[in-house]
């Protein structure tokens, strides 16, 4: 259990890597469904961080996680190599995505959020949906899982900030056009908060059901601390046990944005200290 079996780098722009790891975790692999996540600790002094289960291989008893080396713990995790073991991993956590035939669906992924939409896109495709995938990244080189997502999409579209691939602009520019053209049963989106917030604003115009998976800060990730509380439809809910998926148009995005910055100065401090 918890042994790293495989590791590869999906993108690396000036040292900011997006890393994929396959980890031995038979009990979690047996149960994990699209939309669920694990909480892990790199070592015995580590933080507990939540990461989406991107793939669960029941036969080999392993799960795949994908993370961007964005902060101290993800950088520490990125230094781990195959053969080494993580201190702890627990899951599967959170509710699974409701997978059914919605007819036509649009999946919107941005940045490392693309990793999180992949299992959902795959499952929606398998259950008969016509899947339109819209991916966004700063530049072409930062786009991850392109082939994997193409394979499960009927329509595949890309937006980059610099225009190096697909259209120059935002995923929401494409989304708006697609929603004008056709009727959709569901929009599913994971990415940076500004992107999800814009997605919600666009889909609200068309009244399309829109689900987002939130990346709130967590500690135990089992409903015991309330660190990940979010306001959804005026009610306080816990991302870990009530989510991580919520109705995009009900989420208090400004509160989430602020709460996700609670430890920015501490994060800077620990990164500086350890020169990471």
């Amino acid at each position: 259990m918890t042994k790293i079996l495989k590791k590869d780098t999906l993108s690396d722009i000036s040292g900011t890597k997006v890393v994929r790891m396959v980890i031995s975790a038979a009990d979690i692999a047996k149960k994990a469904m699209p939309g669920q996540f694990v909480a892990l600790m790199v070592d015995d002094r580590g933080e507990r961080v939540p990461l989406t289960v991107v793939e669960a291989d029941r036969s080999s008893g392993s799960i795949t996680i994908i993370f961007q080396e964005a902060g101290f713990t993800t950088r520490l995790l990125g230094r781990m190599n195959p053969g080494e073991s993580l201190y702890a991993i627990v899951g599967p956590l959170g509710h699974a995505t409701e997978i059914k035939d919605y007819g036509k669906v649009i999946i919107v992924g941005g940045g490392v959020g693309i990793a999180e939409i992949y299992p959902v896109a795959k499952a929606l495709k398998a259950s008969g949906n016509r899947v339109t995938t819209i991916l966004g990244a700063r530049a072409k080189d930062l786009l991850i899982l392109e082939d994997e997502l193409k394979a499960v999409s009927d329509i595949f579209l890309v937006a980059t900030d610099d225009g190096s691939y697909g259209i120059k602009g935002f995923t929401t520019d494409i989304l708006d056009k697609e929603l004008q053209k056709d009727k959709y049963g569901l929009v599913y989106s994971v990415g940076p908060i500004p992107m999800m917030k814009r997605t919600a604003a666009v889909t609200a115009k068309y009244g399309v059901r829109t689900i987002v998976s939130l990346n709130a800060i967590m500690v135990d990730a089992t409903g015991m601390c309330g660190c990940c509380r979010v306001t959804v439809g005026g009610k306080t809910l816990f991302s870990c046990v009530d989510g991580p998926e919520f109705d995009a148009n009900q989420v208090d995005w400004d509160e989430l944005t602020k709460r996700n910055r609670i430890y920015d100065s501490k994060e800077k401090h620990i990164c500086n200290l350890s020169k990471m």
């Binding site: 009990d27 979690i28 047996k30 149960k31 600790m41 002094r45 580590g46 933080e47 507990r48 101290f72 713990t73 520490l76 201190y87 702890a88 991993i89 627990v90 899951g91 599967p92 956590l93 500690v219 135990d220 089992t222 409903g223 015991m224 601390c225 309330g226 660190c227 509380r229 306001t231 306080t236 046990v241 400004d254 509160e255 602020k258 709460r259 910055r261 609670i262 430890y263 501490k266 994060e267 401090h269 620990i270 200290l273 350890s274």
Partner: protein, 482 residues
């Protein structure tokens, strides 16, 4: 020396327990209460008059034969004292430290004035004696008596949760030779003893020692394992566990429901204490989990959790070179504080301030979303409510504001619902607590038992153990009948 002689020579004044100096201890997480020396324990034990009808035993949720253990102790037969306690309680070093004895055995002690809300000072310091005896057993590696029953060795039982109820039930069963596996969701066992109670009240070496004893009995502990997620209750039973005990705990924090409660740096007590106790955030950045500490900290609530949170927060303020400024805000007065009297005294000595008769109304913050002020109303006490305590009534127009750049809400916990949510056959009540047969602690699912806070709502460590013991007896009866 015979106890009869003790009575004659009994010191009238209770022996004060040695403690670390308040100024020193409030800058670190070392244990506050140092406990009795042998001599002090003997002096205090000699105060016990060995009542013919000892009411203290009735006051103990697991009915430790207090009279007898104190008798052995007074006669310097520490071994017998230890085994007397262990007949009823597997964790004397823990309970001796965390039991609210002034509401239990000490309250029913003959030296407590009738009708007083908690133990009189004169009541025998039973908890400190228990701690002395427990620590004696620990230091001297006294072997735990096992009564392995060959008829039971073929059975296996799953225990869900490694808090007070879970470990107690596991210990009882393992001692009879039953194979026990405990499933724990977190990465370390102990439940609330680990994530809730700070090391300055319960040092981690004590907790680890008592858990190691359990492992020596053959109990296996599977950490990072959530029953209800990685495996369902039905699967455990199908895998051949002959019974399951649920010690799920009351792990879900409640919030006040007032405006501004989700501002940054407002923590539930569970979050704050989990960061500090389980994740060692007070040692950040050596440990990687951060916790933010304010200049003006407000803790809302009046129970042990509020005291723990306030004392931990004040310690970290001092450790970070800040002027200590931590206040407990409570709607009633000092008499109604539900916390242990010792914790209240300790909090005061360490510099925690108390604001009584204050009702929180709204948190306000800055543009970045961080809390800055707590708007409050003054209260007065009205008629007693259902809990028997006088109800606080807010006084209109009495509004005022307190500086508050960090807050901890310690206002109670609800049932952990991770397992019950996915197990509809498991009957729960309106509080989401698991419904049990009060005689056997069996749930609505056959061979599945429950105890601790998941049954009774928030209670004490020893109450949870009392329920776990009852369940373990019923489980043993069930297996013997098989």
């Amino acid at each position: 020396m015979q106890p009869e002689q003790n009575v004659k020579t009994a010191r009238k004044e209770p022996v004060k327990v040695r403690e670390q100096d308040a100024a020193r201890r409030s800058s670190c997480f070392d244990e506050v209460v140092l406990g009795y020396s042998e001599e002090e324990a003997l002096q205090e034990a000699a105060r016990c008059i060995q009542c013919k009808n000892p009411a203290c035993i009735e006051g103990c949720p697991v009915n430790i034969d207090i009279k007898r253990f104190i008798y052995h102790l007074a006669n310097k037969d520490y071994k017998s004292a230890y085994f007397t306690i262990r007949e009823k309680n597997d964790f004397p070093s823990i309970c001796g430290r965390v039991c609210p004895a002034e509401y239990q055995c000490r309250k029913t002690c003959v030296f407590t004035k009738k009708g007083s809300p908690y133990a009189s000072e004169k009541a025998i310091n039973i908890h400190f004696l228990e701690r002395f005896v427990g620590d004696y057993g620990m230091k001297n590696n006294l072997e735990i008596s096992t009564q392995k029953n060959p008829k039971l060795s073929k059975y296996k039982v799953a225990v869900v949760g490694s808090g007070p109820a879970g470990v107690c039930c596991a210990g009882e069963l393992a001692r009879q030779g039953i194979k026990v596996t405990i499933f724990e969701a977190l990465h370390k066992p102990g439940g609330v003893l680990r994530y809730g109670i700070p090391p300055f009240r319960l040092p981690r070496e004590i907790l680890d020692f008592e858990l190691d004893c359990l492992k020596k009995l053959g109990v296996e502990i599977a950490e990072n394992y959530i029953v209800g997620k990685a495996k369902g209750l039905d699967e455990l039973l199908a895998e051949g566990y002959d019974a399951v005990f649920l010690g799920l705990g009351a792990g879900v924090p409640t919030f006040l429901g007032i405006k501004g409660e989700n501002l940054c740096n407002i923590y539930s007590a569970n979050e704050f204490l989990t960061r500090v106790n389980l994740m060692s955030a007070y040692k950040f950045p050596e440990y990687h989990t951060p916790v933010n500490i304010g200049k003006s900290i407000i803790v809302i609530g009046g129970g042990n959790t509020a005291m723990d949170a306030a004392r931990a927060a004040l310690r970290i303020q001092k450790m970070q070179g800040l002027a200590p400024d931590t206040s407990i805000v409570y709607r009633r007065t000092e008499v109604e504080l539900p916390a242990r009297r010792l914790e209240i005294e300790h909090a005061k000595e360490e510099g925690v301030k108390f604001r009584f008769l204050v009702q929180p109304e709204e948190f306000t913050g800055d543009e970045a979303g961080f809390v800055k002020k707590l708007r409050c109303l003054e209260c007065k006490l009205g008629e007693p409510d259902a809990s028997g305590r006088r109800r606080p009534i807010a006084i209109p127009g009495s509004e005022f504001s307190l500086d508050c750049d960090m807050a901890v809400l310690a206002i109670g916990l609800l049932a952990n619902q991770v397992l019950t949510r996915v197990t509809p056959q498991l009957k729960t009540d309106k509080y989401s607590d698991v419904v049990v047969d009060r005689d056997t602690m069996e749930t609505s699912i056959g061979a599945v038992y429950a105890g601790g806070d998941i049954v009774g709502g928030e209670g004490t460590v020893i109450e949870a153990m009392g329920m776990a013991k009852k369940a373990s007896k019923a489980i043993i009866d069930r297996l013997l009948k098989k």
